[in-house]
Symmetry: C2
Subunit: 409 residues, 2 copies
């Protein structure tokens, strides 16, 4: 129970709010900012001056056909090429590294394929080499203000330790620390669950903009989830919140990698769909393309594929119904392979939802596919990495530009 | 996206924070307040002076053996008898009305038994009559600052409409409006789901003090729930959050009052336990005492009762495991009949939890019985009713003491 903020806290909050506004919604005139943030024009001017001096935004004449006659109103624009973060994704089949500028612009990216089960040290090496080459190519006065990595496992908030990653044999490796050392930028690398980042991303820039209570479900080899409640990622007591893939929907059902049976992951994951469709991995088919092939076959009337989608859709429907009852979300977003499964089994999912969820929380919930496609994790990692500079813009930049941190080019 | 608070907002926030501190933790010296709230002594003095002038707190010499030699430090104490709320509980078998003073002191209460299925108008009449008699007995200068009612149903946040109350035939009655009119105090009566209030109560004054991520499960004829995430009641998009009783734990299982099958409520509710134990309501046994009788019989070695508890405990374990995976709570609290069932089936619940939940979110979760016993809903209603005055103490009191509100005695 803490007291209210000081004057200095208020200024910091206002600077962060203005910067967040142009970061998420794009360039805006002072008039728009004043109205949207509920501050007067002179306060906006002072805040913009501070952010400009720090090199976080610039003011310029509006571009394009929006210009009107008379004295044009200046537009506040984020310094996308000068202020950036590094976003990393460790996927089951790929590694992605991106340099993302303030405003959410992907400035540059590297992608490497990865064989399942590869060595953690090798992963760190690939990510660090990719990132260093991106940094070398950045502008001379550009500043990296954060770094974050999305990982398909259970991550403890206190120390970013990976507690459970059945689909990657990563052990107890402190992935963030190892990557941070190899990068040599003097910046920590935060590690987050990939589906939690997906929820952040869809909330900030995807299907969930404007919806402060949403659930993101991500399918891959495993099934992950992220919950936004009251506009905030629901982390729970230690940051493990959102392990929706291990909600038991079918007690005594199919065995799960976690040791339990009938988990959502075991009933709707990639392997299960392929097994139901007689397209097991033994036949050389796995991953996203194999899932799409089943959905396409069902579309063409293939009975086995349709039955497989129906079974998987039923359990996905039970999972969604439970989440609707427990959390009353305004929106459920399906990403990864669950995007394809949702598109192929929407009628069955909605049918189970109609009987399995109470009318009150069900009537207004929307079901949607992820708007950010395969980049949900990466976009979420970038947003996570920007969090610190958005919370305290001047302080973070001052620290990074200080002489002792000259390694941060 | 709003800008930071003004000076006036900060003062209001600080007044509320100080008042909330003595409301929840009891009388405190200025030194304790300064340290706990992170404010200097002169600010604490000014805030205390404002709250004293408004009649919300008083300063006095410390009581009892805590006094030491030298100049005694004054203690700030909430004005419990002068500032109060009305808390109402509509239970399945009883109606309770209480006058609760600032600081959480139950000053006075009335209780009436109620036959299941009684007329909504009759309920409102009984509650209003009880409340008026409590108000008449209050001190001459006492002020009622809020009123709230706990109800075993699904309540829409926007207008307090009751959307689903299968165990009470209340229809679409705007219970809060009706009660507010009958009271004639010029105060609205908020209506909340009873188990949501239970979660608030256990978090504020019960088993969950200090734990900002907890789940409260309440058993009665139905099973309800309330979720506290990041210290706040998780309402979801429309206030229906926490309908844990309708999470399907056993697909195709026992029919539920909601129309679905295998809901937690259907598998662990009072009627199911009694049916499993061959003590169905037809034999004249129902309610809390009947549940206790089963637990007692199991304790004495009754095989049928033990088997009944084992079955119910299994499904309760699945429900808790799912919640632990999805929400990573630090604490799960069992209230109402689930308190007794938990005490009788703890080993089975923990056994299912051990296999059904991931190790990471499971290892630190604590399972506890409700500390507030049968008063969780009532205490929660009082806390809910106090929320407004704690958010803006001076403003609320000024409004209530204004001449045109003379009906508020």
């Amino acid at each position: 129970m803490r007291a209210g903020p000081s004057q200095e806290d208020v200024r910091r909050h206002n600077l962060g709010t203005l910067l967040r506004f142009v970061h998420l919604r794009g360039p805006a005139s002072r008039a728009t900012l004043a109205e949207s943030l509920g501050l007067n024009r002179s306060t906006i001017m002072a805040l913009t001056a501070d952010l400009t001096a720090a090199g976080l935004v610039r003011e310029e004449l509006p571009r394009g056909p929006g210009r009107r006659a008379g004295r044009p109103s200046l537009v506040v624009r984020p310094e996308s090429t000068r202020v950036y973060v590094l976003a990393f994704e460790v996927g089951v089949d790929r590694l992605v590294i991106a340099r993302v500028g303030l405003g959410g612009v992907v400035l540059d990216r590297r992608e490497a394929s990865r064989t399942r089960g590869s060595d953690p040290a090798e992963i760190v090496g690939t990510l660090a080499a990719g990132a260093r080459s991106l940094v070398r190519k950045s502008e001379r006065d550009a500043v990296c203000v954060g770094a974050a990595l999305g990982f398909p496992g259970t991550v403890r908030r206190a120390d970013d330790a990976i507690r459970f990653g059945p689909n990657l044999d990563i052990g107890d490796l402190p992935l963030g620390d190892a990557l941070s050392r190899r990068l040599g930028l003097g910046l920590p690398v935060s590690v987050c669950n990939d589906a939690n980042l997906g929820a952040l991303a869809e909330h900030a820039r995807g299907a969930g903009v404007g919806c402060d209570n949403l659930i993101y479900l991500h399918g891959d080899v495993g099934v992950g989830g992220g919950i936004i409640a009251h506009g905030r990622l629901l982390g729970g007591d230690e940051g493990y919140g959102g392990e929706i893939g291990h909600m038991v929907v079918n007690p005594g059902g199919r065995p799960c990698a976690c040791g339990s049976r009938g988990c959502l992951e075991a009933e709707v994951g990639e392997r299960t769909l392929l097994a139901h469709a007689d397209r097991a991995e033994a036949h050389g088919q796995s991953g996203r393309d194999a899932v799409r092939a089943v959905v396409d076959a069902a579309d063409r009337g293939d009975i086995v594929a349709r039955e497989a989608l129906h079974r998987v859709g039923t359990w996905l429907g039970f999972g969604v119904a439970n989440l609707v009852n427990v959390l009353n979300p305004g929106l459920v977003v399906f990403g990864g392979t669950l995007r394809d499964i949702y598109l192929g089994a929407a009628a069955q999912i909605r049918s189970v939802l109609a009987t399995g969820a109470l009318a009150a929380p069900r009537e207004k919930v929307r079901l949607r596919t992820a708007a950010l496609g395969d980049d949900t994790t990466l976009v979420g990692a970038a947003e996570f990495a920007f969090a610190e500079v958005l919370a305290d813009p001047i302080q973070v930049l001052a620290r990074l530009r200080a002489p002792e941190d000259s390694s941060v080019h």
